[in-house]
């Protein structure tokens, strides 16, 4: 390391009384509270922060804040590591561990730097022209090599231990950017009574006030900013957010602010504060006071460590008391950079100015000269020289320059260990453009400025292309007042500031060779895109700026072109003979700066990722070892294995209990919808394929629902509670969907029907008591009603009590056994469930889960919508023609059933399957083929929809949708399985057990 560069005095942001030490690439670096990694490392004398993306060139600090594209570091260890952070934004604390990136084995000695030696062979887009031979090499050789070389930092190891959260907030005026313009706009809006949010990406308000010079109402600008900031913090109707970047602007003034709450303070983090907070702001008005970003100048080797923006050099001195070097050159085409020269001179740093403009006059250049700073007007830096490995610059070449000059004839050398460059300033338009704001090119600024916007967005200050202090204040105070909805314009304070003359654009400074003959004038530093690459893209026909961007990757690095954009357009314009507006601009996309995925997920991780729905009996299932099956958001018990049992064994046990004794199922998840009104019956006739107006009160009927395409979408049992009153059951997944579906038809199509629909699914716990002993169990529960077969036959309903429990009892069955579905209000659900379990003990009652349920119903040939159907299946396909009314003129889906393809003769039809070997269980989804061949392709004729080993029958059973299946009863078909085995199965009836239904009606 070379000598330290901390100045003996100065540094507005640092506290010299508080020493802080951290590590960079393992070495200890010390700095002061208030330093960033960038300022502290620079103070230590180190220049190189990382390596570039493609050529692995050593790179140093360029920027002042979030525009930084070179000095990227990884911060934190293990699961807390975070790559690609801008060293200019990382605030230091004791124990912070930072590492450089994209180098191996070390920052100063990097093997990848060979790419720089070979860079002549890697022009923009080179990879499209090679790596094609031999074919397999792309996947196995070239691509892995490229992928390892690319990327920047490393991903963290392990799961993120920190918390994140989001918050929604509404405001009248959102001011983005807490610089001079933002402060003024916020103050004016607040004074007019608006609810104001002021957000800034930095730790403190003020923006560039501390490096801009000037006075407001007799106060030095930084002091005015501090005082105004303090007033806003204190105001009752203002919320100030620091370290909060407005990352994007979306439709209807929706803005997201990404707040880094605790990154800068490990003590905060360990106290449990969320690391990041995402603010979702809905603003009546948005004021963009996002300021401007200085642009580099393209000169040969302008990427060498030590070459930085003039504002960055000034910021190092003013904010951190750090000298950018001992002896440097300010290279500029504008007046603003003279302030940097003046500040450097004040601090005792050697400096001279190279100004590409023919004349350097006006207040600031004159002041510089007066201070004894040499000024070379009409000159450029034509080259920089570096020490070994390009790790730092040692000198510059200065040459005279006239506008449009192609190459340099004579140049003189000067010693320098840094260059502070300024190519002018670009309004930060990103947020303006995110949601389609138009922009226009300003010839005087040689930059784009805001134009029209269809949302309520207003840009003020430098973001709107206004750089003079009095102009900024005037505009911002007026806008703040107006947008707060008041006619009272806040008084505008008086401003004093040195006047500046306009810049003259210089898109690349000439060198001795032509810029496209081996010189490297970097435009996009991080992605290593040079002026020559942009010119090549033009020449090869990638003329649209979007083509150029994509072909060369210009503007696609992690800074998203913040500093490179206009320079690149300038080069393209010159190369193609167009103007910059003709070249156009690439679209700015959110986010303004990258923000964490963790903050986007917020608290919705782990258990909260997606809601889990629980029935009233959930905890009982847990306590009894249930294995879960997610059904929609519900968790249902799949089976209840006992000690030592496999799932298979427990499922078989549960099935046999239902067949031979009695079982108990938690069916609470089934949808339950009350439907009432004079037109309820007619309405149901429209909704269902079958007739419901003929159903008698107290009776149940199984119904099928189709969508308008004619495909099955739901099924269930509906009971008629009264003349105009029904209770509909839906599938577990269907409750909300069907309830909304019924409402939709009532509200939008049959608006004259007088029907009310209320979804009462959640009010009821519902349990199936199924099996030959079900009535005995029910009897033991002290029913208040007659449960004999005569009084409560299959498909009937009764309301009453079981002991103290109010219940609705439906005698319906999905297992083919004697079965009662007992519903009780959900807060009594657990109690009743336990009573049933206790009452059933002597009858051998076993709770059973969804898998047993599925086997039981498959043995009976009952379909499950979603298993036997897949969204392209009609009721006729599954053999339920009988439930499709011929009498009703219209019901949902009826007309579609009449379409050619839906009534085609060769459709797949639901059949039963019995494998030749009863021990062969066909895999779910297995396909049958017309002819078995040695190898694919084979023509498929249908697939298995459900397949189980039936413990009841002691053999496998399956259902399948088979082409023209019902006509092929008795035929044997073949299922070629993976590995060559072919299972043969005979087409049979879908009902495998108790075909007569004798067990139902007992």
């Amino acid at each position: 390391m070379s000598k330290p560069y901390r100045l003996s005095a100065g540094g507005r942001l640092i506290d010299r009384a508080k020493k802080v030490s951290f590590t960079f690439d393992g070495g200890t670096v010390s700095g002061f509270a208030g330093d960033t990694v960038a300022s502290a490392v620079m103070a230590s004398g180190q220049r190189v922060f990382g390596r570039s993306f493609k050529y692995h060139r050593p790179r140093g600090l360029v920027g002042l804040g979030s525009e930084e594209m070179n000095a990227l570091v990884g911060v934190g260890l293990g699961a807390r590591h975070e790559p690609n952070l801008r060293a200019t934004q990382v605030e230091i604390f004791n124990g912070l561990a930072a590492v450089s990136q994209n180098r191996w084995p070390s920052l100063t000695w990097d093997v990848g730097a060979i790419n720089n030696r070979l860079s002549r062979f890697f022009p923009g887009g080179f990879y499209y022209k090679t790596f094609m031979w031999p074919r397999s090499f792309w996947k196995h050789v070239y691509e892995p090599f490229i992928r390892r070389a690319a990327g920047l930092g490393k991903a963290p190891e392990g799961r993120d231990p920190d918390a994140y959260e989001q918050v929604h907030v509404h405001c009248d005026v959102l001011v983005i950017g807490g610089g001079v313009a933002g402060l003024a706009a916020a103050e004016a809006a607040a004074a007019n009574g608006a609810r104001v949010i002021l957000a800034d990406e930095n730790p403190r308000l003020g923006g560039l006030a501390d490096i801009s010079g000037g006075q407001v109402d007799g106060q030095a600008l930084p002091d005015w900013a501090a005082a105004t900031g303090a007033r806003l913090h204190a105001a009752a109707n203002v919320h100030v957010l620091n370290r909060a970047t407005a990352v994007g602007h979306w439709h209807h003034n929706f803005v997201m602010l990404f707040e880094r709450v605790a990154d800068h303070d490990p003590a905060l983090l360990s106290s449990g504060v969320p690391r990041h907070r995402l603010w979702k702001v809905r603003a009546r008005q948005v004021i963009l006071a996002t300021g401007s970003i200085e642009r580099p100048v393209a000169f040969a080797n302008n990427d060498r460590p030590g070459v930085m923006l003039a504002s960055a050099a000034r910021g190092l001195v003013e904010r951190y008391g750090v000298a950018p070097g001992s002896n440097g050159v300010v290279f500029t085409n504008d007046d603003d950079a003279y302030q940097t020269a003046i500040v450097l001179k004040h601090s005792g740093v050697g400096v001279r100015v190279v100004d590409s403009r023919g004349r350097a006059e006006g207040a600031l250049p004159n002041k510089a000269r007066e201070m004894g700073i040499p000024v070379d007007a009409g000159s450029v830096i034509s080259a920089v020289s570096t020490g070994w490995g390009g790790l730092g610059i040692t000198g510059v070449k200065i040459a005279t320059y006239r506008k449009g000059q192609g190459r340099v004839i004579r140049e003189t050398g000067a010693e320098a260990d840094f260059v502070a460059m300024s190519g002018g300033w670009n309004p930060a338009l990103h947020l303006w453009c995110h949601n389609g704001g138009k922009i226009r090119f300003d010839e005087k600024l040689q930059a784009f400025r805001p134009g029209e916007h269809h949302d309520k967005v207003t840009a003020v200050g430098a973001a709107n292309g206004h750089f003079a202090l009095h102009q900024i204040l005037e505009e911002a105070y007026r806008a703040g007042s107006r947008l707060a909805g008041s006619g009272n314009v806040h008084p505008v304070p008086t401003a004093v500031q040195a006047e500046e003359r306009p810049l003259e654009p210089i898109w690349f400074a000439p060198a001795t060779g032509k810029y496209n003959e081996g010189n490297k004038h970097f435009i996009d530093f991080q992605n290593d895109v040079t002026a020559a690459d942009l010119e090549l893209a033009q020449r090869e026909g990638y003329e649209s700026v979007e083509h150029t961007k994509r072909y060369t990757t210009f503007g696609m690095a992690t800074d998203q072109g913040k500093t490179s954009n206009i320079n690149g357009l300038g080069v393209i314009a010159e190369a193609s003979g167009k103007t910059i507006p003709e070249v156009g601009i690439t679209t700015f996309r959110p986010p303004y700066t990258p923000f964490s995925f963790g903050s986007i997920a917020g608290v919705l991780t782990r258990d909260l990722f997606l809601p889990i729905r629980r029935t009233a009996v959930h905890q009982w299932h847990v306590d009894h070892g249930a294995v879960w099956e997610p059904v929609g958001q519900w968790r249902r018990a799949y089976t209840y294995p006992r000690d030592g049992e496999t799932n298979h064994q427990s499922i078989d046990r549960e099935i046999l209990a239902v067949r031979n004794k009695v079982g108990l199922l938690d069916a609470s998840t089934l949808g339950k919808i009350e439907i009432k009104g004079p037109d309820a019956a007619e309405f149901l006739d429209r909704m269902y394929t079958n007739m419901f107006s003929t159903l008698k009160t107290g009776k149940c009927r199984y119904g099928l629902m189709m969508n308008e395409l004619g495909f099955l979408t739901d099924d269930g049992v509906t009971v008629r509670l009264g003349d105009d009153h029904f209770l509909m059951h839906t599938t577990s997944g269907g409750a909300d969907r069907i309830s909304a579906w019924l409402e939709e038809w009532l509200q939008t199509e049959w608006t004259h029907y007088r029907v009310f629909v209320t979804n009462v699914t959640e009010n009821w716990s519902q349990f199936a008591i199924a099996g030959p002993m079900a009535r005995e169990v029910l009897r033991k529960l002290e029913p208040s009603f007659d449960i004999s077969n005569a009084a409560l036959p299959h498909m009937s309903f009764v309301e009453g009590r079981l002991g103290p429990y109010p219940v609705r009892v439906y005698r319906i069955s999905f297992s083919g056994e004697l079965s009662y579905e007992v519903a009780t209000p959900a807060n009594h659900g657990l109690g009743l469930w336990k009573e049933i379990v206790a009452a059933g003990g002597e009858f051998g009652l076993e709770p059973y889960g969804t898998e047993a349920l599925h086997v039981l119903r498959a043995e009976k040939g009952y379909i499950v919508v979603g298993d036997e159907t897949d969204g392209t299946t009609t009721p006729i396909d599954v053999g339920l023609d009988g439930l499709v009314s011929k009498k009703k003129a219209d019901f949902l889906g009826k007309r579609s059933l009449d379409q050619e393809y839906l009534k085609a003769p060769n459709r797949k039809q639901l059949v039963g399957l019995l494998t030749e070997d009863p021990d062969d269980v066909l895999p779910d989804g297995a396909y049958a083929v017309r002819h078995v061949k040695d190898k694919p392709p084979m023509e498929m004729i249908g697939h298995v929809t459900s397949s189980y080993r039936s413990p009841t029958l002691g053999r496998s059973i399956a259902m399948a949708l088979i082409e023209n299946g019902r006509a092929r009863m008795g035929e044997t078909i073949s299922f070629p399985l993976p590995g060559g085995k072919v299972v043969r199965a005979r087409i049979a009836d879908t009902v495998f057990y108790d075909k007569e239904g004798a067990k139902l009606n007992v």
Binding site: W250, H252, E708, A740, E744, Q747, T748, D890, R895, Q899
Partner: protein, 121 residues
């Protein structure tokens, strides 16, 4: 993220509080004359959509509010809502006047039919 306003209950909120329900004013032919719906009519009902770049008319539901369906007129480029109106209503006349192409044809026909029904009656 859009801000939607329900014309039934006046609730205003993020699009996530609402449910977007596709194109407005699609006629279900089977409701009127189930016996005489052609395949082409059924296709138009189920699949053919007016899909303008610009002013569009669509259905929304106040999903986390009053639960009612309603209509909206929205520009599909700027996303600006021009009107919210009832589920059985036509858009305000000044918005109809801004409709272009297939929508303009639709409203002209619809208004014409209503006018002739009125004069006929």
């Amino acid at each position: 993220m859009l801000v939607v306003k329900c014309p039934v209950c006046g609730a205003e909120g993020d699009e996530t509080d609402f449910h977007a329900g596709g194109q407005a004013h699609v006629r279900r032919p089977a409701t009127c004359d189930p016996a005489h719906v052609t395949d082409a009519e059924q296709r138009d009902y189920l699949f053919i959509r007016i899909n303008p770049r610009g002013l569009h008319f669509e259905r929304w539901r106040c999903d986390r509010g009053c639960g009612k369906w309603f209509h909206a007129a929205r520009d599909t480029v700027t996303m600006e809502f021009k009107a919210f109106y009832g589920i059985t209503e036509l858009p305000p006349m000044d918005v109809i006047a801004q409709a272009k192409g297939q929508w303009a044809e639709y409203f002209a026909k619809r208004l014409g039919a209503e006018r002739s029904r009125e004069t006929g009656a």
